[in-house]
Amino acid sequence: MTSAWVRRAISLVIVACACAFVLLASRPAHAFPWMIREGYTGCNTCHADPSGAGILTAYGRGMEEVVLRTPYKKDADPGKLGNFAWSVDLPEQLLLQTDFRNLFLTLVPSGGTTQFQDVVMQLDQSAQLKIGRFRMNGSIGYSPPSTADGNFTFTGGGLGATLTDAPGVDGALIARQYWLGVDIGKDEEFLLRAGRMNVPFGIRTIEHPFLVRQVTRTDIDKGQEHGVSLAYTGEKVRGEIMAIAGNFAIRPDDFRERGGSGFVEWMPSTKVAIGASAMITHADQARTDYDISLAAAPIWRHAYAVHARISPVKPLVILAEFDALLNSQLVAGVSENHGGVVGLLQADLQVYQGIHVLAAGEFYNGHVGETSTYNTTTATAWLGAWWFFAPHLDFRIDGVYSSGSAPGLPPSNQGTSLLAQIHGYL
Protein backbone atom coordinates (compact mmCIF):
# COMPACT_ATOMS: atom_id res chain seq x y z
CA MET A 1 0.00 0.00 0.00
CA THR A 2 2.78 2.37 1.02
CA SER A 3 4.89 1.44 -2.00
CA ALA A 4 1.99 2.07 -4.37
CA TRP A 5 1.37 5.46 -2.76
CA VAL A 6 5.03 6.37 -3.01
CA ARG A 7 5.24 5.30 -6.65
CA ARG A 8 2.22 7.48 -7.37
CA ALA A 9 3.87 10.38 -5.50
CA ILE A 10 7.10 9.98 -7.50
CA SER A 11 5.13 10.02 -10.74
CA LEU A 12 3.27 13.15 -9.63
CA VAL A 13 6.48 14.95 -8.65
CA ILE A 14 8.16 14.07 -11.96
CA VAL A 15 5.11 15.16 -13.96
CA ALA A 16 4.81 18.38 -11.93
CA CYS A 17 8.49 19.23 -12.41
CA ALA A 18 8.30 18.46 -16.13
CA CYS A 19 5.22 20.67 -16.47
CA ALA A 20 6.92 23.46 -14.55
CA PHE A 21 9.91 23.32 -16.88
CA VAL A 22 7.77 23.30 -20.01
CA LEU A 23 5.48 26.11 -18.84
CA LEU A 24 8.10 28.33 -17.32
CA ALA A 25 10.99 27.82 -19.73
CA SER A 26 10.31 30.92 -21.75
CA ARG A 27 13.25 33.25 -21.98
CA PRO A 28 16.98 33.02 -22.47
CA ALA A 29 19.30 33.17 -19.51
CA HIS A 30 20.33 36.74 -18.80
CA ALA A 31 20.33 36.39 -15.05
CA PHE A 32 23.75 36.49 -13.46
CA PRO A 33 24.05 34.08 -10.60
CA TRP A 34 26.09 33.73 -7.46
CA MET A 35 25.16 36.50 -5.11
CA ILE A 36 21.62 37.73 -4.89
CA ARG A 37 22.72 40.91 -3.13
CA GLU A 38 24.44 41.91 -6.35
CA GLY A 39 21.24 41.21 -8.26
CA TYR A 40 22.43 37.87 -9.62
CA THR A 41 19.76 35.31 -8.79
CA GLY A 42 21.03 32.26 -10.68
CA CYS A 43 24.31 30.35 -10.55
CA ASN A 44 25.39 29.22 -14.01
CA THR A 45 27.21 32.36 -15.07
CA CYS A 46 29.78 31.99 -12.31
CA HIS A 47 29.76 28.21 -11.82
CA ALA A 48 30.04 25.32 -14.25
CA ASP A 49 27.34 23.56 -12.24
CA PRO A 50 24.12 25.32 -13.24
CA SER A 51 22.72 24.92 -9.73
CA GLY A 52 25.82 26.35 -8.12
CA ALA A 53 28.97 25.36 -6.23
CA GLY A 54 32.23 23.99 -7.53
CA ILE A 55 34.49 25.09 -10.31
CA LEU A 56 34.20 28.73 -11.36
CA THR A 57 33.76 29.98 -14.89
CA ALA A 58 36.04 32.71 -16.23
CA TYR A 59 33.28 35.22 -15.51
CA GLY A 60 32.94 33.90 -11.97
CA ARG A 61 36.64 34.38 -11.41
CA GLY A 62 36.36 37.95 -12.59
CA MET A 63 33.37 38.57 -10.32
CA GLU A 64 35.32 37.25 -7.35
CA GLU A 65 37.91 39.95 -7.94
CA VAL A 66 35.42 42.72 -8.63
CA VAL A 67 32.64 42.23 -6.09
CA LEU A 68 33.69 39.58 -3.59
CA ARG A 69 37.12 40.24 -2.17
CA THR A 70 38.21 43.28 -0.25
CA PRO A 71 39.57 45.93 -2.63
CA TYR A 72 42.69 47.80 -1.53
CA LYS A 73 42.68 50.36 -4.34
CA LYS A 74 39.80 52.37 -5.71
CA ASP A 75 38.54 51.29 -9.13
CA ALA A 76 41.51 49.01 -9.53
CA ASP A 77 41.53 46.94 -12.71
CA PRO A 78 41.70 43.30 -11.56
CA GLY A 79 43.67 42.45 -14.69
CA LYS A 80 44.57 38.79 -14.77
CA LEU A 81 44.52 38.29 -11.00
CA GLY A 82 41.33 36.27 -11.21
CA ASN A 83 42.80 33.88 -13.78
CA PHE A 84 43.94 30.36 -13.00
CA ALA A 85 47.04 30.57 -10.80
CA TRP A 86 46.54 34.40 -10.71
CA SER A 87 47.76 34.87 -14.26
CA VAL A 88 47.29 31.97 -16.68
CA ASP A 89 45.06 32.52 -19.70
CA LEU A 90 43.39 29.18 -20.27
CA PRO A 91 41.77 28.20 -23.58
CA GLU A 92 38.12 29.16 -23.73
CA GLN A 93 37.09 25.48 -23.65
CA LEU A 94 38.97 24.63 -20.48
CA LEU A 95 38.28 25.47 -16.84
CA LEU A 96 40.76 24.51 -14.14
CA GLN A 97 40.62 25.05 -10.39
CA THR A 98 42.79 23.77 -7.56
CA ASP A 99 41.24 24.12 -4.11
CA PHE A 100 42.73 23.81 -0.65
CA ARG A 101 40.58 24.21 2.43
CA ASN A 102 41.74 23.48 5.97
CA LEU A 103 39.75 23.59 9.17
CA PHE A 104 41.00 23.80 12.72
CA LEU A 105 38.20 22.70 14.98
CA THR A 106 37.88 22.95 18.74
CA LEU A 107 35.05 20.87 20.21
CA VAL A 108 33.86 21.67 23.68
CA PRO A 109 31.26 18.97 24.36
CA SER A 110 28.76 19.44 27.14
CA GLY A 111 30.30 17.70 30.12
CA GLY A 112 33.23 16.20 28.20
CA THR A 113 36.89 16.79 27.42
CA THR A 114 37.82 19.42 24.86
CA GLN A 115 38.91 17.92 21.54
CA PHE A 116 41.03 19.49 18.81
CA GLN A 117 40.90 18.51 15.15
CA ASP A 118 42.75 19.60 12.06
CA VAL A 119 40.67 18.64 9.03
CA VAL A 120 41.96 18.85 5.47
CA MET A 121 38.52 19.53 4.11
CA GLN A 122 39.44 19.90 0.49
CA LEU A 123 42.48 19.26 -1.65
CA ASP A 124 40.86 19.01 -5.06
CA GLN A 125 41.75 19.57 -8.66
CA SER A 126 38.68 20.33 -10.75
CA ALA A 127 38.42 20.67 -14.49
CA GLN A 128 35.85 21.17 -17.19
CA LEU A 129 36.36 20.74 -20.90
CA LYS A 130 33.69 22.07 -23.20
CA ILE A 131 33.68 21.26 -26.89
CA GLY A 132 30.77 22.86 -28.69
CA ARG A 133 27.75 21.99 -26.58
CA PHE A 134 29.36 18.98 -24.93
CA ARG A 135 30.99 19.11 -21.53
CA MET A 136 33.20 16.83 -19.47
CA ASN A 137 33.50 17.92 -15.84
CA GLY A 138 35.16 16.34 -12.85
CA SER A 139 37.25 16.73 -9.76
CA ILE A 140 39.82 14.56 -8.09
CA GLY A 141 41.35 15.11 -4.70
CA TYR A 142 43.21 13.57 -1.83
CA SER A 143 42.11 12.98 1.71
CA PRO A 144 44.98 12.23 4.12
CA PRO A 145 44.73 9.37 6.63
CA SER A 146 43.62 10.06 10.17
CA THR A 147 46.08 10.18 13.03
CA ALA A 148 45.36 10.83 16.68
CA ASP A 149 47.53 11.99 19.55
CA GLY A 150 45.73 12.40 22.85
CA ASN A 151 42.88 14.81 22.33
CA PHE A 152 44.22 16.00 18.96
CA THR A 153 43.13 14.42 15.68
CA PHE A 154 44.38 15.09 12.18
CA THR A 155 42.03 13.88 9.49
CA GLY A 156 40.76 14.29 5.94
CA GLY A 157 37.24 14.67 4.65
CA GLY A 158 35.08 13.50 1.82
CA LEU A 159 34.19 10.05 3.16
CA GLY A 160 31.36 8.97 0.88
CA ALA A 161 32.97 10.50 -2.22
CA THR A 162 36.00 8.23 -2.30
CA LEU A 163 37.35 6.34 -5.29
CA THR A 164 39.62 4.22 -3.11
CA ASP A 165 38.79 2.32 0.03
CA ALA A 166 38.45 4.66 2.97
CA PRO A 167 39.48 5.34 5.58
CA GLY A 168 42.80 3.84 4.54
CA VAL A 169 46.33 3.88 5.88
CA ASP A 170 47.49 5.91 2.88
CA GLY A 171 44.50 8.22 2.79
CA ALA A 172 42.00 8.17 -0.04
CA LEU A 173 41.37 9.60 -3.47
CA ILE A 174 38.25 11.74 -3.53
CA ALA A 175 36.08 12.40 -6.57
CA ARG A 176 33.15 14.54 -5.58
CA GLN A 177 31.87 15.15 -9.08
CA TYR A 178 32.39 13.72 -12.53
CA TRP A 179 29.86 14.06 -15.30
CA LEU A 180 29.29 14.34 -19.02
CA GLY A 181 26.82 16.91 -20.17
CA VAL A 182 25.28 18.55 -23.18
CA ASP A 183 23.91 22.09 -23.30
CA ILE A 184 20.52 22.26 -24.95
CA GLY A 185 18.41 25.13 -26.21
CA LYS A 186 18.96 28.25 -28.27
CA ASP A 187 20.81 29.94 -25.43
CA GLU A 188 22.03 26.75 -23.80
CA GLU A 189 19.51 27.30 -21.05
CA PHE A 190 19.18 23.56 -20.44
CA LEU A 191 21.96 21.24 -19.32
CA LEU A 192 21.45 17.48 -19.52
CA ARG A 193 24.15 15.52 -17.74
CA ALA A 194 24.99 12.08 -16.42
CA GLY A 195 27.51 11.10 -13.79
CA ARG A 196 28.12 11.97 -10.17
CA MET A 197 26.61 15.31 -9.20
CA ASN A 198 25.35 17.42 -6.34
CA VAL A 199 21.78 16.49 -5.50
CA PRO A 200 19.40 19.31 -6.49
CA PHE A 201 17.53 20.08 -3.30
CA GLY A 202 17.03 23.18 -1.17
CA ILE A 203 19.55 25.97 -0.78
CA ARG A 204 22.95 24.98 -2.14
CA THR A 205 25.24 26.25 0.55
CA ILE A 206 28.90 25.86 1.35
CA GLU A 207 28.04 25.25 5.01
CA HIS A 208 27.69 21.53 4.51
CA PRO A 209 27.15 20.73 8.21
CA PHE A 210 23.90 22.72 8.27
CA LEU A 211 21.15 20.43 9.52
CA VAL A 212 19.03 20.99 6.40
CA ARG A 213 21.87 19.57 4.32
CA GLN A 214 22.97 16.79 6.69
CA VAL A 215 19.54 15.41 7.51
CA THR A 216 18.48 15.35 3.86
CA ARG A 217 21.98 14.14 2.76
CA THR A 218 22.24 16.85 0.11
CA ASP A 219 25.47 18.58 1.11
CA ILE A 220 28.14 19.49 -1.43
CA ASP A 221 30.97 17.93 0.56
CA LYS A 222 30.19 14.28 0.06
CA GLY A 223 26.44 14.07 -0.55
CA GLN A 224 26.68 13.72 -4.33
CA GLU A 225 24.88 10.88 -6.09
CA HIS A 226 25.25 9.20 -9.45
CA GLY A 227 22.44 9.75 -11.88
CA VAL A 228 21.04 11.81 -14.72
CA SER A 229 19.85 15.38 -14.36
CA LEU A 230 18.26 18.13 -16.39
CA ALA A 231 18.83 21.71 -15.27
CA TYR A 232 17.19 24.86 -16.55
CA THR A 233 18.28 28.44 -15.97
CA GLY A 234 16.04 31.26 -17.07
CA GLU A 235 15.60 34.89 -16.23
CA LYS A 236 12.80 34.33 -13.75
CA VAL A 237 12.93 30.62 -13.11
CA ARG A 238 15.62 28.04 -12.62
CA GLY A 239 15.56 24.45 -11.48
CA GLU A 240 16.90 20.97 -11.81
CA ILE A 241 15.51 17.44 -11.64
CA MET A 242 17.67 14.39 -11.10
CA ALA A 243 17.06 10.67 -11.41
CA ILE A 244 19.25 9.19 -8.69
CA ALA A 245 20.93 5.86 -9.42
CA GLY A 246 22.76 5.70 -6.09
CA ASN A 247 26.11 6.64 -4.61
CA PHE A 248 28.53 4.13 -6.06
CA ALA A 249 31.26 5.33 -3.70
CA ILE A 250 29.64 3.34 -0.94
CA ARG A 251 28.95 -0.37 -0.79
CA PRO A 252 27.33 -2.83 -0.58
CA ASP A 253 24.60 -1.96 -3.02
CA ASP A 254 21.91 -2.39 -0.35
CA PHE A 255 22.77 1.06 1.07
CA ARG A 256 22.53 2.94 -2.23
CA GLU A 257 19.53 5.20 -2.41
CA ARG A 258 17.65 5.37 -5.68
CA GLY A 259 14.85 7.69 -6.65
CA GLY A 260 14.54 11.30 -7.65
CA SER A 261 15.15 14.83 -6.45
CA GLY A 262 14.56 18.26 -7.80
CA PHE A 263 13.98 21.91 -7.09
CA VAL A 264 12.44 24.86 -8.84
CA GLU A 265 13.15 28.48 -7.92
CA TRP A 266 11.20 31.53 -8.96
CA MET A 267 12.84 34.96 -8.94
CA PRO A 268 10.12 37.63 -8.93
CA SER A 269 12.79 40.31 -8.67
CA THR A 270 16.56 40.47 -8.69
CA LYS A 271 16.57 40.56 -4.90
CA VAL A 272 14.12 37.76 -4.13
CA ALA A 273 14.15 34.04 -4.94
CA ILE A 274 11.60 31.54 -3.68
CA GLY A 275 11.91 27.82 -4.23
CA ALA A 276 10.48 24.40 -3.57
CA SER A 277 12.15 20.99 -3.57
CA ALA A 278 11.18 17.35 -3.35
CA MET A 279 13.15 14.17 -2.95
CA ILE A 280 12.09 10.54 -2.69
CA THR A 281 14.59 7.69 -2.47
CA HIS A 282 14.53 4.02 -1.68
CA ALA A 283 17.31 1.82 -0.34
CA ASP A 284 17.30 -1.88 0.45
CA GLN A 285 18.81 -1.04 3.80
CA ALA A 286 18.65 2.13 5.88
CA ARG A 287 21.87 3.88 6.94
CA THR A 288 21.70 3.10 10.63
CA ASP A 289 25.12 4.72 10.95
CA TYR A 290 23.43 8.01 9.95
CA ASP A 291 20.38 7.56 12.11
CA ILE A 292 20.56 5.03 14.92
CA SER A 293 16.82 4.98 15.37
CA LEU A 294 16.23 3.43 11.94
CA ALA A 295 15.79 -0.30 11.57
CA ALA A 296 18.24 -2.34 9.48
CA ALA A 297 15.55 -2.79 6.85
CA PRO A 298 14.51 -1.27 3.51
CA ILE A 299 13.59 2.40 3.66
CA TRP A 300 11.73 5.01 1.65
CA ARG A 301 13.07 8.45 2.51
CA HIS A 302 11.09 11.56 1.66
CA ALA A 303 11.98 15.24 1.99
CA TYR A 304 9.96 18.23 0.84
CA ALA A 305 11.26 21.77 1.21
CA VAL A 306 10.46 25.40 0.65
CA HIS A 307 13.18 28.02 0.68
CA ALA A 308 13.77 31.71 0.13
CA ARG A 309 16.73 33.96 -0.57
CA ILE A 310 16.02 37.63 0.01
CA SER A 311 18.20 40.72 -0.04
CA PRO A 312 16.10 43.57 1.44
CA VAL A 313 19.10 45.93 1.34
CA LYS A 314 22.36 45.31 -0.45
CA PRO A 315 24.52 44.47 2.58
CA LEU A 316 22.02 41.94 3.95
CA VAL A 317 20.91 38.57 2.58
CA ILE A 318 18.43 36.35 4.39
CA LEU A 319 18.34 32.64 3.60
CA ALA A 320 15.56 30.43 4.92
CA GLU A 321 14.65 26.80 4.36
CA PHE A 322 12.02 24.56 5.90
CA ASP A 323 11.94 20.83 5.19
CA ALA A 324 9.32 18.21 6.03
CA LEU A 325 10.71 14.68 6.36
CA LEU A 326 9.25 11.19 6.28
CA ASN A 327 11.05 7.88 6.74
CA SER A 328 8.96 4.86 5.85
CA GLN A 329 10.12 1.34 6.66
CA LEU A 330 8.63 -2.13 6.61
CA VAL A 331 10.04 -3.91 9.66
CA ALA A 332 9.12 -7.58 10.15
CA GLY A 333 5.97 -7.02 8.13
CA VAL A 334 4.90 -3.92 10.09
CA SER A 335 4.91 -0.49 8.45
CA GLU A 336 6.74 2.18 10.44
CA ASN A 337 6.42 5.81 9.36
CA HIS A 338 8.32 8.55 11.14
CA GLY A 339 7.98 12.21 10.31
CA GLY A 340 10.24 15.12 11.13
CA VAL A 341 11.05 18.72 10.35
CA VAL A 342 14.28 20.63 9.92
CA GLY A 343 14.77 24.34 9.35
CA LEU A 344 17.37 27.02 8.73
CA LEU A 345 17.39 30.80 9.02
CA GLN A 346 20.63 32.52 8.07
CA ALA A 347 21.61 36.17 7.78
CA ASP A 348 24.68 37.26 5.84
CA LEU A 349 25.73 40.84 6.50
CA GLN A 350 28.47 42.31 4.33
CA VAL A 351 29.89 45.03 6.55
CA TYR A 352 32.48 46.05 3.96
CA GLN A 353 33.23 44.51 0.62
CA GLY A 354 34.86 41.16 1.32
CA ILE A 355 34.01 41.11 5.02
CA HIS A 356 30.92 39.19 6.11
CA VAL A 357 29.26 38.55 9.44
CA LEU A 358 27.04 35.48 9.44
CA ALA A 359 24.44 34.36 11.92
CA ALA A 360 22.26 31.29 11.64
CA GLY A 361 19.71 29.41 13.66
CA GLU A 362 18.68 25.84 12.98
CA PHE A 363 16.28 23.35 14.47
CA TYR A 364 15.54 19.70 13.98
CA ASN A 365 12.73 17.64 15.37
CA GLY A 366 12.42 14.06 14.35
CA HIS A 367 12.91 10.41 14.89
CA VAL A 368 16.42 10.38 16.27
CA GLY A 369 17.50 8.14 19.06
CA GLU A 370 14.11 7.36 20.54
CA THR A 371 15.83 4.28 21.89
CA SER A 372 18.74 6.26 23.30
CA THR A 373 19.52 9.30 25.36
CA TYR A 374 19.97 11.59 22.34
CA ASN A 375 17.60 14.48 21.98
CA THR A 376 14.77 14.29 19.51
CA THR A 377 14.76 18.07 19.26
CA THR A 378 17.95 19.89 18.40
CA ALA A 379 18.60 23.61 18.09
CA THR A 380 21.77 25.09 16.74
CA ALA A 381 23.12 28.64 16.72
CA TRP A 382 25.94 29.86 14.46
CA LEU A 383 27.88 33.11 14.55
CA GLY A 384 30.76 33.68 12.19
CA ALA A 385 32.92 36.11 10.29
CA TRP A 386 34.36 35.63 6.82
CA TRP A 387 37.04 37.70 5.13
CA PHE A 388 37.96 37.41 1.47
CA PHE A 389 41.24 39.13 2.15
CA ALA A 390 43.31 38.56 -0.98
CA PRO A 391 42.92 37.23 -4.52
CA HIS A 392 41.87 33.57 -4.29
CA LEU A 393 42.17 33.52 -0.49
CA ASP A 394 39.63 33.69 2.31
CA PHE A 395 39.60 33.10 6.04
CA ARG A 396 36.62 32.29 8.22
CA ILE A 397 35.88 31.75 11.90
CA ASP A 398 32.67 30.38 13.37
CA GLY A 399 31.26 29.60 16.77
CA VAL A 400 28.52 26.97 16.86
CA TYR A 401 26.38 25.81 19.75
CA SER A 402 24.27 22.71 19.33
CA SER A 403 21.81 21.38 21.88
CA GLY A 404 21.91 17.84 20.51
CA SER A 405 22.39 15.65 17.50
CA ALA A 406 20.55 14.86 14.29
CA PRO A 407 20.84 12.27 11.52
CA GLY A 408 24.20 12.56 9.81
CA LEU A 409 25.88 14.25 12.74
CA PRO A 410 28.03 12.62 15.44
CA PRO A 411 26.13 11.45 18.52
CA SER A 412 28.44 13.61 20.63
CA ASN A 413 27.47 16.72 18.72
CA GLN A 414 25.98 18.42 21.76
CA GLY A 415 28.13 21.33 22.87
CA THR A 416 30.12 24.23 21.46
CA SER A 417 32.45 24.19 18.46
CA LEU A 418 34.93 26.84 17.39
CA LEU A 419 36.01 26.67 13.77
CA ALA A 420 38.80 28.44 11.91
CA GLN A 421 39.07 27.84 8.16
CA ILE A 422 41.48 28.96 5.50
CA HIS A 423 40.65 28.46 1.84
CA GLY A 424 42.75 29.14 -1.19
CA TYR A 425 42.45 28.24 -4.83
CA LEU A 426 44.44 28.55 -8.00
Binding site: Q93, L129, G168, Y178, A249
Partner: protein
Protein backbone atom coordinates in the same frame (compact mmCIF):
# COMPACT_ATOMS: atom_id res chain seq x y z
CA UNK B 1 27.11 15.42 -36.01
CA UNK B 2 30.81 14.63 -36.43
CA UNK B 3 31.45 16.47 -33.17
CA UNK B 4 28.84 14.39 -31.40
CA UNK B 5 30.32 11.13 -32.69
CA UNK B 6 33.82 12.20 -31.61
CA UNK B 7 32.52 13.10 -28.17
CA UNK B 8 30.64 9.83 -27.84
CA UNK B 9 33.66 7.78 -28.91
CA UNK B 10 35.96 9.66 -26.55
CA UNK B 11 33.52 9.16 -23.69
CA UNK B 12 32.80 5.51 -24.33
CA UNK B 13 35.68 4.19 -22.20
CA UNK B 14 34.14 5.87 -19.14
CA UNK B 15 31.39 3.31 -19.24
CA UNK B 16 33.59 0.31 -19.84
CA UNK B 17 34.78 -1.63 -16.81
CA UNK B 18 38.51 -1.43 -16.40
CA UNK B 19 38.89 -5.07 -15.41
CA UNK B 20 36.74 -8.11 -15.95
CA UNK B 21 37.60 -10.89 -13.54
CA UNK B 22 34.65 -13.25 -13.20
CA UNK B 23 33.09 -13.55 -9.75
CA UNK B 24 31.93 -16.96 -11.01
CA UNK B 25 35.40 -18.05 -9.94
CA UNK B 26 34.57 -17.54 -6.26
CA UNK B 27 33.18 -21.05 -5.60
CA UNK B 28 36.15 -22.67 -7.30
CA UNK B 29 38.50 -20.43 -5.39
CA UNK B 30 36.94 -21.49 -2.10
CA UNK B 31 37.58 -25.13 -3.04
CA UNK B 32 41.19 -24.50 -3.98
CA UNK B 33 42.03 -22.06 -1.16
CA UNK B 34 40.65 -24.39 1.49
CA UNK B 35 42.08 -27.54 -0.14
CA UNK B 36 38.64 -29.11 -0.12
CA UNK B 37 39.01 -32.73 -1.20
CA UNK B 38 35.66 -34.26 -0.25
CA UNK B 39 33.34 -35.30 -3.05
CA UNK B 40 31.20 -32.85 -4.96
CA UNK B 41 31.64 -29.62 -2.95
CA UNK B 42 29.80 -27.63 -5.63
CA UNK B 43 26.60 -29.53 -4.94
CA UNK B 44 24.69 -28.07 -7.89
CA UNK B 45 27.65 -27.75 -10.19
CA UNK B 46 28.00 -24.00 -9.57
CA UNK B 47 27.97 -23.26 -5.86
CA UNK B 48 26.77 -19.69 -6.37
CA UNK B 49 23.73 -20.09 -4.13
CA UNK B 50 25.71 -20.19 -0.90
CA UNK B 51 25.70 -16.39 -1.35
CA UNK B 52 23.40 -15.49 -4.24
CA UNK B 53 19.69 -16.01 -4.73
CA UNK B 54 20.34 -18.19 -7.79
CA UNK B 55 23.14 -19.25 -10.11
CA UNK B 56 22.71 -16.15 -12.24
CA UNK B 57 24.36 -14.09 -9.49
CA UNK B 58 24.52 -10.37 -10.09
CA UNK B 59 24.73 -7.12 -8.14
CA UNK B 60 22.45 -7.00 -5.12
CA UNK B 61 21.57 -10.71 -5.23
CA UNK B 62 24.00 -11.96 -2.56
CA UNK B 63 21.25 -11.96 0.02
CA UNK B 64 21.72 -15.35 1.63
CA UNK B 65 23.29 -15.27 5.11
CA UNK B 66 26.82 -16.21 4.04
CA UNK B 67 26.67 -13.71 1.17
CA UNK B 68 25.47 -10.96 3.48
CA UNK B 69 28.23 -11.78 5.92
CA UNK B 70 30.96 -11.67 3.27
CA UNK B 71 29.63 -8.31 2.03
CA UNK B 72 29.52 -7.02 5.59
CA UNK B 73 33.23 -7.86 5.84
CA UNK B 74 34.01 -5.85 2.71
CA UNK B 75 33.96 -8.47 -0.04
CA UNK B 76 33.28 -6.91 -3.41
CA UNK B 77 32.73 -8.48 -6.83
CA UNK B 78 35.84 -9.78 -8.57
CA UNK B 79 38.05 -9.35 -5.51
CA UNK B 80 39.72 -12.76 -5.25
CA UNK B 81 42.31 -11.61 -2.73
CA UNK B 82 39.72 -10.28 -0.33
CA UNK B 83 37.81 -13.56 -0.58
CA UNK B 84 40.99 -15.46 0.29
CA UNK B 85 41.69 -13.18 3.24
CA UNK B 86 38.17 -13.59 4.61
CA UNK B 87 38.29 -17.37 4.30
CA UNK B 88 41.62 -17.39 6.11
CA UNK B 89 40.10 -15.27 8.87
CA UNK B 90 37.24 -17.75 9.25
CA UNK B 91 39.69 -20.66 9.30
CA UNK B 92 41.80 -18.91 11.94
CA UNK B 93 38.91 -18.56 14.37
CA UNK B 94 39.64 -20.72 17.36
CA UNK B 95 37.25 -22.33 17.85
CA UNK B 96 35.28 -21.74 14.65
CA UNK B 97 32.29 -19.63 15.66
CA UNK B 98 30.89 -17.73 12.68
CA UNK B 99 27.56 -19.37 11.85
CA UNK B 100 25.76 -16.92 9.62
CA UNK B 101 22.77 -19.13 8.84
CA UNK B 102 22.18 -20.18 12.48
CA UNK B 103 22.15 -23.91 11.73
CA UNK B 104 24.57 -24.76 14.53
CA UNK B 105 27.56 -25.57 12.32
CA UNK B 106 30.27 -22.96 11.69
CA UNK B 107 30.30 -21.77 8.11
CA UNK B 108 33.92 -22.66 7.43
CA UNK B 109 33.28 -26.21 8.62
CA UNK B 110 30.27 -26.51 6.33
CA UNK B 111 32.42 -25.37 3.44
CA UNK B 112 35.32 -27.71 4.11
CA UNK B 113 33.09 -30.71 4.79
CA UNK B 114 31.08 -30.19 1.59
CA UNK B 115 27.86 -29.22 3.31
CA UNK B 116 27.43 -26.22 1.03
CA UNK B 117 23.77 -26.97 0.46
CA UNK B 118 23.11 -26.49 4.19
CA UNK B 119 24.81 -23.10 3.99
CA UNK B 120 22.15 -21.90 1.55
CA UNK B 121 19.46 -22.30 4.22
CA UNK B 122 18.60 -19.37 6.49
CA UNK B 123 17.63 -20.81 9.89
CA UNK B 124 17.86 -17.52 11.80
CA UNK B 125 14.18 -16.60 11.79
CA UNK B 126 12.51 -13.23 11.55
CA UNK B 127 13.67 -11.91 14.92
CA UNK B 128 17.38 -12.43 14.43
CA UNK B 129 17.92 -8.71 13.94
CA UNK B 130 19.68 -8.70 10.61
CA UNK B 131 18.55 -7.81 7.13
CA UNK B 132 15.44 -9.68 5.98
CA UNK B 133 15.44 -11.67 9.19
CA UNK B 134 19.03 -12.90 8.74
CA UNK B 135 21.64 -12.78 11.49
CA UNK B 136 24.07 -10.52 9.66
CA UNK B 137 23.54 -6.76 9.76
CA UNK B 138 25.31 -5.10 6.85
CA UNK B 139 28.07 -2.57 7.34
CA UNK B 140 28.61 0.34 4.98
CA UNK B 141 32.00 0.54 3.28
CA UNK B 142 33.47 3.55 1.52
CA UNK B 143 35.15 3.48 -1.86
CA UNK B 144 33.69 2.43 -5.19
CA UNK B 145 33.29 -1.32 -5.59
CA UNK B 146 36.16 -1.72 -8.03
CA UNK B 147 38.57 0.29 -5.91
CA UNK B 148 41.76 -1.28 -4.60
CA UNK B 149 41.71 -2.83 -1.17
CA UNK B 150 44.54 -3.75 1.16
CA UNK B 151 46.53 -6.44 -0.55
CA UNK B 152 45.09 -5.61 -3.97
CA UNK B 153 47.32 -2.73 -4.96
CA UNK B 154 47.65 -3.80 -8.59
CA UNK B 155 44.24 -2.37 -9.37
CA UNK B 156 44.61 1.08 -10.95
CA UNK B 157 43.33 3.86 -8.72
CA UNK B 158 41.85 5.81 -11.62
CA UNK B 159 39.77 3.53 -13.83
CA UNK B 160 41.62 3.03 -17.11
CA UNK B 161 38.53 3.98 -19.07
CA UNK B 162 38.34 7.36 -17.37
CA UNK B 163 42.01 8.06 -18.06
CA UNK B 164 41.60 7.19 -21.75
CA UNK B 165 38.46 9.32 -22.01
CA UNK B 166 40.12 12.34 -20.40
CA UNK B 167 43.14 11.96 -22.67
CA UNK B 168 40.83 11.66 -25.69
CA UNK B 169 38.89 14.78 -24.76
CA UNK B 170 42.08 16.79 -24.18
CA UNK B 171 43.45 15.59 -27.51
CA UNK B 172 40.27 16.56 -29.31
CA UNK B 173 40.39 20.02 -27.72
CA UNK B 174 43.99 20.55 -28.78
CA UNK B 175 43.31 19.45 -32.36
CA UNK B 176 40.33 21.78 -32.50
CA UNK B 177 42.35 24.67 -31.10
CA UNK B 178 45.09 24.06 -33.69
CA UNK B 179 42.56 23.99 -36.52
CA UNK B 180 41.12 27.28 -35.32
CA UNK B 181 44.56 28.91 -35.35
CA UNK B 182 45.02 27.85 -39.00
Amino acid sequence: MRRFIAFAVASLPLFVASRARATAEFPGQIVSDQNITCANPLFDGNGCTICHQDDNGGLGTATRPFGRYMKSQGLTPFNDQKLGALLTALQNESPHTTDTNCDGTPDIDELTSCQWQNLTQDMCGADAGGVDGGSVPLTVFYGCSTSPTVGDRDTPILPGGAAVAIAGMLGAALIRAKRRKR
